[in-house]
Assembly symmetry: C2
Homo-oligomer: 271 residues x 2
């Protein structure tokens, strides 16, 4: 099964486009857990236990685990082991390097950590992405138009008559012979999300930027889904993880995930 | 002291523009060392002991350490501890993410691992780079025109009348208020290296792609150095690391590093 099929299948089974971003910051944990690498692991375990029936994916931003120091990789391994089989796991590291180096990243992320998908930065071109594409069952989300203010600095520059991010979208579409490439498009750019979806009717789109960054959920669903109301992944991080800083944090995270997922499914019903 | 001053000072002191790339691949080690993470550490220690008086910098490509799995971060820590103080250490991860995530990368690379410099990918713009720039003493090498074939896919696209990589150079120059930004320009593009050096007479340029990738050493020195014959870093990896696969590997690595450094210094003398 290629990644596109796998993603759509789990989205249907779970009735969910929700991706919870496990970008766990030890300084933001409930006080009773402490703020050690072990606290992060405990927190992740309880969040996963409380939300796994409500999501299609978990996205781990690698920066937050690297920032834990030597123990970070262990915490990531043990967190991965908690995710039920079938749920997509996204190693969000925005990596890419010359071909023989991207092979090493692919080994780390796909072999050692067993991520089902990753994110990759397109700046270094085809041979920097190709080593991630060799298994059709594992996905690669290529950065197109990111959610942050700096997305205007280069991504929106005009290349000929169209902005650079559209060139990235067109190129990623050409690379997608195994149906395992997706795109990253920030929820903070709804108009461009609509344009991009029309360019790639069949590719998964990972949509961060809901919540604290100000992206709009309704528009993200309306413009981000494919014709069957699938293939968009709505990433939500802080509003779920830190819904409560008290001992009820996992139950509060579940309530918030449920609320968002219901909202998503309501919007999907009215596309 | 800002990063530019620090780099120039160590280049003068060591009489060297050579950066040895410790991108250690366990499958390429001398047979008697084995191919475990511990073998990589032993190898790195011997290479550093044999070459540290001949280099201005060591560059560790993070992919090779991540590919070692859970032990990779430990090997990296212990390798870092072997590098004599004053020698620049470059954490080559080509990272960058939204601002609050780049802060986590900065914590991992500058606080936890104590790298003196890193490499960063410009695609996500100003706020993805800014968290790395806060300490003037630590350097950030922004990818401009990379050494690999894929550099043509986006970096050479025309933005108005000039290619994207020049826009990156101009923008990085604007960001460089603390004199701690450098650029990455592949040795495989000598003509463009010359143009870029004329655009940034004072910025460090990290030049990979000599050796296996086919870049020319003489042109890299001629076009990459500043007016004083400094500020270029010539990265050499495989030809030094794997100069011999026998028990004399460290001595062979030293001979090769010495040969390259002499060649570099000869070319510097004739600029």
């Amino acid at each position: 099964m290629n990644f596109l099929e796998h993603l759509q299948s789990i989205q249907k089974k779970q009735q969910s486009l929700l991706c919870v971003g496990l970008d766990t910051d030890p300084s933001l944990l409930p006080l009773h857990l402490g703020s050690t690498p072990q606290s992060v692991l405990q927190f992740n375990k309880e969040i996963i236990a409380a939300t796994h029936d409500l999501v299609c994916a978990y996205k781990m931003n690698l920066a937050f685990y690297e920032a834990l120091g030597k123990n970070g990789w262990d915490v990531l391994h043990e967190t991965m082991a908690m995710v039920p089989s079938g749920i997509v796991t996204i190693g969000d590291g925005k990596r890419a390097d010359i071909g023989n180096t991207s092979e090493q990243y692919a080994r780390a992320l796909f072999r050692d950590l067993n991520f089902g998908a990753i994110t990759a930065n397109p700046y270094m071109g085809a041979d920097s992405i190709e080593p991630f594409l060799r298994e059709e069952g594992r996905g690669v989300f290529v950065l197109a138009l990111t959610s942050n203010p700096g997305s205007k600095d280069f991504q929106r520059l005009k290349v000929g008559s169209a902005p650079l991010y559209k060139k990235v979208v067109q190129t990623a579409k050409k690379w997608n012979t195994r149906k395992n490439i997706g795109l990253v498009v920030g929820a903070t750019h709804p108009r461009e999300l609509k344009e991009i979806r029309s360019m790639v009717p069949e590719m998964p789109i990972l949509i961060p930027g809901i919540g604290k960054q100000g992206g709009d959920l309704r528009q993200s669903i309306k413009y981000g889904c494919d014709k069957e109301g699938l293939s968009a992944l709505i990433n939500v991080g802080r509003s779920v993880l830190y819904a409560s800083k008290a001992e009820d944090f996992a139950a509060a995270a579940r309530s918030e995930a449920l609320r968002i997922n219901n909202e998503i499914n309501n919007y999907r019903g009215t596309i």
